[in-house]
Symmetry: C2
Amino acid sequence: MTPTVPLAEVERAAERIRSLVVRTPLLESERLGAELGVRVLVKAENLQHTGSFKLRGALNTLLGWQEDGELPTGVATFSAGNHGAAVAHAARLAGIPAVVCMPPAAVASKVEAVRGRGAEVVFTDDLLGTCRALCEERGHRLLHPFDDPAVIAGQGTVGLEVLQDCPDVDLLVVPVGGGGLISGTAVVARAVKPGVRVAGVEPLTANGVSHGLRVGRPEPLPVRPVSLADGLAAPFAGEHTLAHVRELVDRVVEIDEQSIRDAWWPLVDATKLLVEPSAAVGLAALRSGALPLGDARVVVLVLSGGNTAATLG
Amino acid sequence: MTPTVPLAEVERAAERIRSLVVRTPLLESERLGAELGVRVLVKAENLQHTGSFKLRGALNTLLGWQEDGELPTGVATFSAGNHGAAVAHAARLAGIPAVVCMPPAAVASKVEAVRGRGAEVVFTDDLLGTCRALCEERGHRLLHPFDDPAVIAGQGTVGLEVLQDCPDVDLLVVPVGGGGLISGTAVVARAVKPGVRVAGVEPLTANGVSHGLRVGRPEPLPVRPVSLADGLAAPFAGEHTLAHVRELVDRVVEIDEQSIRDAWWPLVDATKLLVEPSAAVGLAALRSGALPLGDARVVVLVLSGGNTAATLG
């Protein structure tokens, strides 16, 4: 059985990345609270450097390699955008080149965010395959977007901060793509406050984790994932993330596109935070009833990122 | 000569309102910093309750009256929206009715924000006159949107927090409507760090403070102020605010509508904060050169509010 990451690894990650990440604020939204009839707080990872939580996992992995004297001469990854920008940023800090495999349909501003940080972009439909071939060819090391204990530990620092800032939380709602964020968050929640519920939300049209749970292993989705929540469109879950979700997460729910669309602007307007649609899946699931509140009184929504192609009009 | 508010009054205001306001984060924007060639931090008052800094002054005034045993049976004010919502919120906390005079052209969502907090709205072109008549009629007390030492002291708590969080600031850029925010902020800046430059920015088409400085007294603008930055469209400056600006502020610059429009989305996208156009005047002035950076190295932009009628599209 694939082991879960111990809390101590998340705490070590927090130490490691502390000076290089924003300790993002946890903000209460009275408006969302009034709507849902509970206290609602949001963890504003849209305010993180590179505009998403992804920097935490990327930095923890690279800095861990560096500590172990194993920093490669280059790093390769695959990403719809946010992880790519995070790896580009982290690699630049570490002083090594980065190459990011992206789907041809990636949002243009996300491609720019990767290139703007000095990384090379390779467009491909076979994200993992191309990435592995590039590693082989160039002697680069793969920095996986989610299925790696070091990445999971890094993302878990989000959960650490949430529980420090709001020990009263009893329902933690986390957007799910490949499952790295929810895996790390659940590690912390289970260890620090066993009674807290941890729920994941993924788009119905990009449900790699739910699919993996159903078939019992990470398996590419039969149909290419496409969602307004482009940041969550991972083509498959991972061994590590599925193990974490199975063992530590209360439930993962799937949410339709219209509900995501309907929740997005109200979330931005209520919180005054520019977030990307991926960050709205939690509110969408609570509003639509897909994720019941149960007896929760203090709900934290993790707002995963703020990189959106939309503009104000 | 109209005296300026002493620092101690701002410190007292901070104590008074502490439990009822958000201590909003001061966030660094690497993207804006790279663009302007200095460190840039933003004070996110869009995250304040009611969506703007206005709550600070309204609460300080009402709580001050309460402390002095002078809480009226009702309160009246005039506002383009944000101060109205703040007074409505504060009056509800104090348990007294509020009536808000608004211009007929007020943004619909700002009218709703006032009514939604239980206050009565009266539309009028003669904001101050109607407000005074209502006070007379109903025995209400006027809570001025800017020209009152208690309001200025309350808004000054923004400056207090900025200087606590970033003692290195050497240029503080503040949006100017009637001048309450910049007056209070300048009180703190001058007292705590005399070397810091405090600059105000107001729309060219809603330049009540610049006009007042030119003619030497608060005087209604010859043309009704209209600006994309609707929150700054005060019809005149005040005795108190003009005195503060004259004595404590380095300069107030005027900025054209197109520059405000051009700065707005880049500010939202760079900071990942939903702000209203009024909050963008500072960046607009720096980008256009209307406000030179001089030898500044650490710039703080006060983002005054987040209540906008625009949506993401």
